[in-house]
Amino acid sequence: MVTENSPYIVVPLFALIVAVSIILILKLSKDKTRKISTLRLFIQIAAVFAVFMGLLIGPFNVEIFAPLGPSPRDNLLGANILGNQFPDGISVPFLACYYPNGRTVTCAIWQLQAYIFPFWDYPRGYQVNYSTSGLEKLAIVLGSLIVACVVLGRSFCGWLCPFGLYQDLLTRVRKATRLRHLNVSDKTNKKLIQSSFVIIAVFMLLSVIFGSYAIFGTEIVPGTIPGGPEGTEAGIVSNINEPFCLVCPARPLCIAVECAIGAMDWSYVSQIVYGPLWISGFYLTSINVAVLIIVTILALTYRRAWCRICPMGGLGALFSAYRPFRHIALTKLEKNEAKCTKCGVCKRVCPTQATDMYEKKGGDVTESRCILCARCVEICPYGDALKITFAGKTLAKSRNWLEKSDSSSIKLND
């Protein structure tokens, strides 16, 4: 059964529009210092549409929905762009909640926590593979992350993450109001990326503590036996499962998108005002909203504030910028020392305040903070001084734009 809004139509049409738009941007964009930024903004927006496309596609290949007629909820759970049953979605290294995206992709942090608790020994998984092994499920998630990060590095953060787009839009708002950004000290900034490892370790440890009954046979926290007499899957368990998701600032935005298109009741949002602090399932908590507000204020002051401590970004860095993965990562930021004049503009425009492209002598200057957004490459006024490469092939390189254009028009206030 192919419905009117079948993925067979929506997905190729979407891909065609994106491809044509990218070509048009590359051909028509004349400002060399904004070309990559314009392209990146477009790809970020397209990525959000792709992530949330599950909401836009009707029930697919699901005969049993036919007698009922489709409902918005069917779009959430019935749709699947790939046409296969991937009940938990494909792990992606950026913040994209499970439910809003129609089960196509899933934030890997959610999976890493959920497969420890409450789903350690709960049959979930992929297509016929309803694995009951928590370790196997975790291995699948980590393996997917390694493949993604070895190939594309932290470019997921720079080009695809919906929450990255949100922060970039806040930066644009700040620039429109002619406010200058602030920088943290280099020393503090280096500590921040390290703190992302601590954050993910803490939340994973919490998941292990909550899931101790299933993993070790010992209930450390009372009420955490799934289906047990005190804790039930519908009750206590879902109040403390996936602890990072209870504080994640991206979740309110995902739910806002669902509510905005009518797929979810606004009571999910309003419950945080008059409801309990801990609300089960994929509902919001007041902590989610508080963190979002704080991050929003910070992102209006410090560019990509959240990305500096994001545990997902930390995982991305771990699998692309640290040994042994650093040696085999395919997407790189490279520097030609002979062409560099140490003007420092690259360091100044970097949204995460990465410094290796300025401080290091040459060669591979990709570091854990680098989100491969290519802003430094775009703004560097010396031809071939900086470049983004994939498997040794140059994707983008700095150009000597000072000679042919008016440098006074360049906006460095990023």
């Binding site: 049993i64 007698p67 409902s71 959430l76 593979n129 694995s131 997917s144 009741d265 399932g281 092939k393």
Partner: protein
């Protein structure tokens, strides 16, 4: 020899086709001893001041009122000239009258073996207690359930509905169209499948990971040997 193999192949095709036809015909055959009902037949629950009826003609093999709950087995609704066996429904209605438009409780499908849904119109802001008899004895997760209001939006749990440990859903205070659905997260552990199928995703990913790491290592090695490679 080849002709014999071709004949055997055709025989197998015919056998499989007949098997599939039997599967489709089987539900109808089961409904032969069913009791018919019409939209005018009201199923009353006097103690709770509630009643229910169905919007379409249909059948059941048994319907009994016990403990103020109607237990229907092998329900069918003759909608769109279809009389698919819909499953068993346990329902209690308090201080309201409801008309059931659709019902489905999947106990046959392997792929969606926990799907269940009911859509009804409620008159009077009473309480409806519904057990869809989805194909599991496990306690389900609240996030697997959806209660959808007349505007077609999904209500948060605790807002006019509640899930009990035995997978019974209580809807209270709602009038108009209400849909209660459970979505099929498969519970089949696949333990009867061969090893490579049970772990197909893990094995597939392992292969992809190995190829990626090997290819990346070779590429980086070549780049280091020849810094101008590819540029």
């Amino acid at each position: 020899m080849k002709a014999r193999e071709a004949k055997l192949f055709k025989l197998r095709i015919v056998a499989v086709t007949v098997g599939f036809m039997f599967l489709f015909l089987y539900p109808s055959a089961q409904a032969q001893n069913a009791t018919p009902f019409t939209p005018n037949d009201k199923f009353i629950i006097p103690q709770l001041n509630g009643s229910l009826n169905f919007a379409f003609n249909g059948t059941y093999t048994s319907a009994a009122l016990q403990n103020d709950t109607w237990f229907f087995t092998d329900l069918t609704l003759n909608r769109n000239n279809s009389s698919l066996r819909l499953g068993n429904l346990d329902i209690s209605v308090k201080d309201s009258n409801i008309t059931i438009f659709t019902f489905y409780s999947d106990r046959l499908s392997a792929q969606f073996n926990r799907f269940g849904s009911i859509r009804y119109f409620a008159e009077g802001a009473g309480t409806q207690t519904i057990n869809l008899n989805i194909n599991t004895t496990d306690q389900t997760h609240s996030s697997e359930w959806g209660v959808i209001n007349p505007a077609g939006v999904f209500l948060a749990e605790g807002k006019d509905w509640q899930l009990l440990p035995d997978n019974t859903v209580i809807v209270y205070g709602r009038t108009g169209n209400v849909t209660v659905s459970h979505y099929g997260f498969g519970v089949d552990s696949g333990s009867t499948l061969p090893f490579y199928m049970q772990h197909s995703v893990a094995l597939g990913l392992l292969a992809v990971l190995a190829v990626t790491v090997a290819a990346a290592t070779i590429i980086r090695f070549n780049i280091r040997r020849n810094p101008l490679h590819g540029n």
